[in-house]
Subunit: 327 residues, 3 copies
Amino acid sequence: MSYSTQINKHGGLNHLLTIEGIPRDYLIRVLDRANRFLSLGDNIALKNYPVLKGRCVFNIFFENSTRTSSTFEIAARRLSADVMKLNILGSSSSKGESLLDTVDNLVAMQADMFIVRHSCSGAVHLIANHVNRVSPNIQVLNAGDGCHSHPTQALLDMYTIRFFKKNFRNLRVAIIGDISHSRVARSDIWALSILGVPEIRVISPKTLLPMDIEQMGVTVFSDLNKGLKDVDVVIVLRLQNERISSPVLPSAKEYFKFYGLTEDAMKNCDENVIILHPGPMNRGVEIDSKVADSASSVILKQVTFGIAIRMAVMDLLHQERLERDNG
Amino acid sequence: MSYSTQINKHGGLNHLLTIEGIPRDYLIRVLDRANRFLSLGDNIALKNYPVLKGRCVFNIFFENSTRTSSTFEIAARRLSADVMKLNILGSSSSKGESLLDTVDNLVAMQADMFIVRHSCSGAVHLIANHVNRVSPNIQVLNAGDGCHSHPTQALLDMYTIRFFKKNFRNLRVAIIGDISHSRVARSDIWALSILGVPEIRVISPKTLLPMDIEQMGVTVFSDLNKGLKDVDVVIVLRLQNERISSPVLPSAKEYFKFYGLTEDAMKNCDENVIILHPGPMNRGVEIDSKVADSASSVILKQVTFGIAIRMAVMDLLHQERLERDNG
Amino acid sequence: MSYSTQINKHGGLNHLLTIEGIPRDYLIRVLDRANRFLSLGDNIALKNYPVLKGRCVFNIFFENSTRTSSTFEIAARRLSADVMKLNILGSSSSKGESLLDTVDNLVAMQADMFIVRHSCSGAVHLIANHVNRVSPNIQVLNAGDGCHSHPTQALLDMYTIRFFKKNFRNLRVAIIGDISHSRVARSDIWALSILGVPEIRVISPKTLLPMDIEQMGVTVFSDLNKGLKDVDVVIVLRLQNERISSPVLPSAKEYFKFYGLTEDAMKNCDENVIILHPGPMNRGVEIDSKVADSASSVILKQVTFGIAIRMAVMDLLHQERLERDNG
């Protein structure tokens, strides 16, 4: 359902809801476009790409987030957009208003883009479907919905991988952690598949694996050392606190013992391996401090690249809209 | 007391605190002024009315609100104002500071306009009176105070009614719901009266009616069907959750049975009736979903018009100040 | 440790962390610089000092604050900076991320200045030390850390004192209240000492005095009337609510009886005494309402001056950076 909602009749993106179904060329186009926004941060010429000048971006967060919300806001402002922050927690939705009524109200305020995060899988698609019916002028970007999708995270991860590995052709990539509840894992697997990575591995205790995982074209490992053998890229997932001491996981210490990324475990990887993590990190739970701070870690580069990717996505979506409006 | 605080010696508005006492011509002037801001939302020319450029607007909310706060912020920014959001909940006021000390501090920060919402009736007037004493340069806009007044809501309701009904001369308008606790009802009744609507009805259970209501020139109905007979405009009030299951109201279901606006009840109205609601809606409590989504519903138009009205009010108040300063 | 972190090799400030160690001439330079920003508030020419145009300021508050956060935001915006508000309460830090990981992430977002408030003494220095290691381009301003330092409050207090008293040469200054837990008291004492005030007094119950206080060059009084004898300036500290009814303080009423600044107590002071308070005030606890509202009170002037001082500090720090970058 997702990709038909987001793709317009010319094959371009009207919204960005999920990586699933986006053609390889389009993903590459986003990564290429991000290049032009990368040197912006450290000089004074921020205002030189005013493509969203006079446009209004609503940052609509039904779930708390500082990092994602802030980087989207920075990205939008660097394109000269007017950004409205709307924390919906504790507002209309708590007053008993339905999700679509809230959305209808935001539509009536006449924004140009909605950046939406929601704790329920599928909520952002529901919103985009609804927006498609009521207003052709609003574009929806998924900033994370439940366990489902977090497309800009996947795009920034792909940008980071390409930046350090040049291309996707001969890579072994391992994703470690709670695959079952991770929108990052799902989005990364889709992106890696589309971009042609030949070997995608997931390393996870069985209790944190979704049932259909092998249908996504990945190899499953429950042993960390075997899973890391000769990999070029490791994506470490955050272990959500609410998982710890639940039936699926006895303790953080136990998890670290078997799945924490330590210097010892790293010895299995290719010597030029890079380590990614979507943040925020739990040091001593899913990753050892020495690994987090090692030369292999590109975790902070991801944050910087994330702003460029979000600028690129907004820039491209806006261009799609202009092209549509002009013919 | 209210209108003497807000009206300056030339009969213009220095603040906007309440609809009560504003001359008919001035209300019409606000509605007319809003016209020029209505097409702004859907094109890129948002920045063409920079009347508040270099001016600082403080959005001071002592009570939670997403919708009203956001539409005021959007309106101020579209006039090129610098907007500061100040959520006073859990800040200085919780540290034991008095309301007027908080206001004095905000005055000392040298804003040009205060947009104020407060849960206590009269609080915004208190603030405006105080501001009149300490600083001639700050204009106060009431964004809702307790059960008392919500003037921009009334103005946008009037704009909506005029938009669809062309004028106020021959209208029957019914307001349904908890009149007693509603600042929207009070403000609408004042506005409708001043604008010359010949028949204003309120439809409400007796427990939710204020004692002095008939002195406001309205006709009271406790039967929904009789009250709706031949009306041209229905304003449905939100039933506040805290009213439900209180001594005045057994249950939401009971309320819906007698006062919920259903398709059946709608049959009593004029065939071209329009339905207004200040939002957020409780579907299935004060309004049936089919009615909310029917062609008669102009609820989302109210949101869009609300931004134009708030721009118009800020524009006019600012002009009053300039005229005062120049002579 | 502090001053070596904040001072660059040419003796200028790279960060503003603490008043301790800043040379007298530099403090005077900040006060002088603030003059140019003082008439800005009340006219339309706010945008005439766009020294931070294209620069990004992060307002990073690990502790709640409306007043300080707002005045820093106003100050930065009046210099045309892009301001991002980041309330870290209840975000990444509550997700178990370490302070320095949070900071690293913010650094990776490529801001130019961090305005930081933190409830722990020393936290802002820790951040600045870390920033010095990882990014030469970010300047850190301390907006209050624990019981340690609040340098812009001290600077605005000094500005206020100089504004009314012309110079610091012959002054008697008394600080009343909970010295032990007050970053304002510590910062003011440092500033008054450096600026050459000959007599600095603290008036406080023994339970609210730090042990090393006399080494700071102040005279200690436990009797309010004696302490106020012939003083030219009184700085009244806010009594934090959490101190009241704790072992160190029986009740607010008891405190007011012995240390509340009343009209009677004021009679001990010089007839031209001025009263300062960092806000928010507890009327009837540390200060009587009549004193707060008297002609001697310059408390609201402090708020206005505070914006000018914060503009001056940001302007000067930015200039230091430009000079460093250009040679």
